[in-house]
């Protein structure tokens, strides 16, 4: 485990000097917008984490890190595993940051300062209704944070696995295969949900009602489950990649 932590630290330091400034700027920007407009905006930070993770392999390839990893006193398998744990950790930290912003935003409710000024105006009525709905149902925001982080983390881990196994030049093909697989899964769920008799819990209307009525505690349970799924997928993808890549010569 110590080896993995050392490699994660190595990867973090590689990326921090490239992307840290921009990431902090985006976090602060989203934080301000979240506080003033909607806590849901915090979710956007997740997409920026791609920029903190995705270029790592490019940098590693360009600078011949495989040779460096070969000279360091560390098991090569742990180098690969560390990359996937790094991906999980990056999205988990992002998720926690977003939650802190969302919770603070809900508690402080600073949007009142702006939108109460012109409450009577026709144009802003719809917007205000939406704002109040979001502030009244923080569980929806938390669910969005968990769901987006999980989807992005799994997508990133998938791309990392495919590009390590098949090379960065085949990434487009890997992404297309991923999208096709995802479409098939979503299509399958949609088909199932359109037949109430098959699996009643999957029925769209039922799901929507359940979603609106969800409590904060339930969203936290969902979050814990999605994080566990994120970690499990990263570990599985990491192990598959390790088995294939560690057999190769440097």
């Amino acid at each position: 485990m110590q080896d993995i932590l050392k490699v994660i630290r190595f990867d973090f330091l590689t990326m921090s000097s490239v992307s840290m400034g921009e990431l902090i700027f985006v976090i602060l920007f989203c934080m301000v917008l979240s506080m003033l407009l909607s806590p849901l905006i915090a979710v956007m930070i997740t997409f920026c984490v791609f920029g903190f993770v995705y270029p790592l392999q490019d940098i590693a390839e360009r600078n011949g890190f495989s040779k460096l990893y070969g000279t360091l006193p560390v098991d090569r398998r742990n180098v690969t595993r560390a990359r996937f744990i790094y991906i999980f950790a990056a999205f988990l930290i992002c998720e926690l940051t977003e939650l802190v912003i969302a919770v603070s935003s809900t508690i402080l409710n600073l949007n009142k300062l702006i939108f109460n000024i012109d409450r009577s105006a026709e144009r802003s009525r719809e917007m205000l209704t939406y704002m109040h709905m979001i502030y009244d149902t923080p569980a929806v925001v938390y669910l969005a944070v968990f769901a987006v982080a999980a989807v992005c983390c799994i997508a990133e881990a998938y791309m990392e696995m495919m590009s390590q196994i098949y090379g960065r030049e085949n990434l487009f093909r890997s992404v297309m295969i991923g999208i096709a697989a995802l479409s098939a899964v979503i299509g399958g769920i949609y088909l199932l949900s359109s037949h109430t008799t098959l699996i009643p819990q999957f029925h769209l209307m039922q799901m929507t009602e359940n979603y609106a009525a969800i409590s904060v505690s339930k969203s936290v349970i969902f979050g814990a489950a999605s994080n566990a799924a994120m970690l499990a997928v990263c570990l599985v993808f990491g192990e598959i990649t390790t088995r294939i890549v560690s057999e190769r010569e440097i």
């Binding site: 590689t14 000097s17 460096l68 070969g70 000279t71 360091l72 006193p73 560390v74 010569e249």
Partner: protein, 294 residues
């Protein structure tokens, strides 16, 4: 004499190249020059020592440890520098030190920054802006910062200007002052070997052509020139890299064969550079002979 590195019967086959039964040893306290033409197998041998490539057969022992089973322990005690840089070029030397430090038990940051100072390397500039010589010195500073007992360098002087090369060789000479250490450095610049190496291993087409002390090598071979008709019977077959010209011939012979040479033939001690050239010529001659036979 205790060996710091021992390679026994190393074999490795690729599609178009193979290492065949590579065997040599580096005693503690000495520098070994590992020479051979490009593509002779030097880097493959070094990568095998580093467990970066899997040997088909043979064994490698470093500090008496197995290079495969004890690879991590070996890498803790060994410093290696390859001919190209493999560090993040957008980082400064200071940031790279922070990255690599945790991997080594014996890492000494003071030593690292002292090396930077000694090599006149800035610690606050992106290493991508460094010249080739500066990059090489940085890699050596990193390799030395964890006090390695064995330093392995793969073509460290290639592409360096004479001043940078000279500085690099001085660094290696200083490092070996501690007699518990060893250096294996591969190069095709034989002048570097002649200057600092105690031992030489010559690799040719994946096989060890010579391994032993540098003095043994240079005293064992001589270049002979003159009229082809003056060559005593039976000696021509023993000549290495025989080449005939319009006015005569030149070839390399073993010094023990010099006794049978007539005075009309001119004999000179062979330099390592000449030895390499004649080995290559011999291989070429052998290739011609084979094709003639076919």
């Amino acid at each position: 004499m205790e060996n710091i590195l021992e390679i026994n019967g190393l074999c490795k086959t690729y599609r178009d190249f193979s290492l065949k039964n590579v065997t040599f040893a580096l005693p503690k306290g000495y520098i070994m020059g590992f020479v051979g033409q490009n593509g002779s197998g030097k880097t493959t041998t070094i990568r095998s020592v580093m467990n970066m490539t899997k040997a088909d057969s043979g064994s490698i022992s470093v500090f008496g440890l197995d290079s495969v089973k004890d690879s991590i322990e070996i890498k803790q005690r060994l410093g290696v520098v390859f001919d190209s840089m493999y560090l993040a070029e957008h980082l400064t030397a200071k940031q790279i030190e922070q990255q690599i430090r945790p991997f080594y038990k014996n890492w000494n940051s003071d030593d690292f920054f002292a090396s930077l100072k000694r090599f006149s390397l800035p610690d606050d500039r992106s290493v991508g802006d460094f010249s080739k010589g500066m990059k090489m010195k940085l890699m050596i500073a990193i390799a030395l910062a964890h006090k390695p007992e064995l330093l392995i360098l793969d073509e460290p002087t290639s592409g360096l200007d004479p001043v940078a090369r000279d500085e690099l060789l001085d660094i290696l000479s200083d490092y070996i002052l501690d007699e518990n250490r060893g250096i294996l450095f591969s190069t095709h610049i034989t002048a570097d070997v002649e200057r600092i190496a105690d031992y030489v291993t010559i690799l040719h087409n994946g096989t060890v052509w010579f391994t032993g002390s540098k003095d043994d090598l240079t005293e064992s071979y001589a270049v002979v020139k003159g009229d082809e008709d003056a060559i005593p019977e039976g000696l021509k077959e023993r000549m290495i890299g025989f080449h005939s010209y319009r006015n005569g011939f030149e070839a390399m012979i073993r010094t023990e064969d010099m006794r049978s040479l007539p005075e009309t033939l001119v004999c000179e001690k062979a330099s390592i550079d000449e030895i390499l050239v004649y080995i290559a010529k011999e291989a070429k001659n052998a290739g011609h002979t084979e094709s003639d036979t076919l």
